[in-house]
Symmetry: C2
Subunit: 257 residues, 2 copies
């Protein structure tokens, strides 16, 4: 990389292993939540007043954790494809995540209504509404700034670090919300000893923490960032933060050395 920032080197080996491990963890998370709903909670049935609830954990973890997480990884996995195609995939994965999450939200609100339970009183629900609402906002702002033509480059370059920071924050908030949901579900049933369901739920929580931690590590390692491609080099002086704006050039992949 050094000395020829316009051409991408091979993908670092550590990055490949870390991304692979994150996908194994993500699939383990989905398998555990599926086993929980299937084995301990009677499975999924949209029309059933009781079993409709079980759609909620499955959809929220698939959408707000797994798909949201993988959307964040797109820029680490696709290092040499065109920037525009990579951005479109990033936006599509987030859009799919939102759709899946909306199904999960409808499931829980309909379940509450059918059973006369009150909505939105728990810390889990407050954090969840916050996460979903800002996720929609972030997605719309990302579309407007980065995918629709017309946004000036200076705005893109100023908004980009904010977009990345709030994206990471929303991902972490989604994981925290999932942990709260697991604990709530366990306590509402029985949770006063080392019951198998309690252990399963706890294990799911730890897997989620591991998934979040590993993604955080992949996304914050400077040398694993996506290198600029040839087509982007011409724009880089504009896209890149101005030196006065960011001391030392920061994490920008273009280094004038």
């Amino acid at each position: 990389m050094e000395g020829s920032p316009s051409t991408a080197g091979p993908r670092p080996l550590g990055l490949s292993y870390a991304v692979g491990a994150s996908q194994l963890l993500g699939v383990a998370v989905l398998a555990v939540v599926g086993a929980w709903m299937g084995h301990f909670r009677g499975g999924l049935a949209w029309e059933s007043p009781q079993l409709q609830f079980n759609v909620h954990p499955l959809c929220m973890i698939l959408g707000m954790v797994f798909l949201q997480g993988d959307a964040l990884l797109v820029y680490r996995v696709f290092r040499t494809e065109s920037k525009r195609a990579t951005k479109v995939l990033h936006g599509l994965l987030h859009g799919l995540a939102l759709l899946v999450a909306l199904v999960g939200l409808v499931a829980v609100f309909q379940y509450h209504k059918k059973n006369g339970f009150p909505d939105l009183y728990s810390l889990h629900s407050w954090c969840g509404i916050l996460a979903v609402a800002f996720y929609v906002l972030q997605w719309l702002m990302g579309l407007g700034a980065f995918l629709f033509p017309g946004a000036p480059f200076s705005l893109r370059s100023r908004y980009k670090p904010q977009h990345a920071f709030f994206g990471a924050t929303l991902f972490l908030l989604s994981i925290a919300t999932a942990l709260l949901g697991i604990l709530e579900l366990l306590i509402f049933k029985t949770y006063s000893a080392f019951a198998p369901e309690g252990l399963l739920g706890n294990a799911l929580g730890l897997l989620l923490v591991g998934f979040g931690g590993l993604l955080g590590y992949i996304l914050t390692r400077e040398e694993w960032r996506r290198p600029l491609q040839g087509e982007e080099m011409a724009l880089s002086m504009d896209f890149k933060k101005l030196p006065e704006e960011e001391e030392g050039g920061g994490g920008s992949p273009v280094d004038p050395r």
Copy 2:
């Protein structure tokens, strides 16, 4: 900063406001948890079989959230003081946080024992044990690598980004654990409607999310990093990551431009 990386510029105004806001949020968090334990839970009394529990939330949030968070801010607040004094303060604040947290842990284990409650079965307790155990480990490794003399600079420079990443992860895990503790405490009492105590607990959770988010923002803004001081410049070629190790020089405050 640009052009003279050896002298520190004035503290950015945005940083001062953000640090001030974080301290207001942190004090609000402590006030809310104090009001919760004092007003709704009967106050603190170490010898009482019931009230000893109330020491736990107060100590854990003071130690593992407020003091741990402020220890992370030290390098943003003290920009021109000697590196060694700043490091010592960072280590002392983390040590104080650990001591306060240990008092909180003794309180909850003694409370369980006095009342015959089982230990360590909930997701809150699993996350909490994980956070405290790795916090002790991180503190010892930090002491060994950065404060005791004798650690080679090459080891320090390789370990430093790992130390910072795991430190941030432990802080976020501590906040997630606090959210789980709040939810657990609320559900174990009554939490099926919009009771004042439920609203207070939820508000505390949101304040914690805000504290964590704001600290994350302060700590990840490149241009708010502590500039290298004169005394450190001589070491900087050694301390700084090698270009082959970190593409583009990354977030290092020394830029050869």
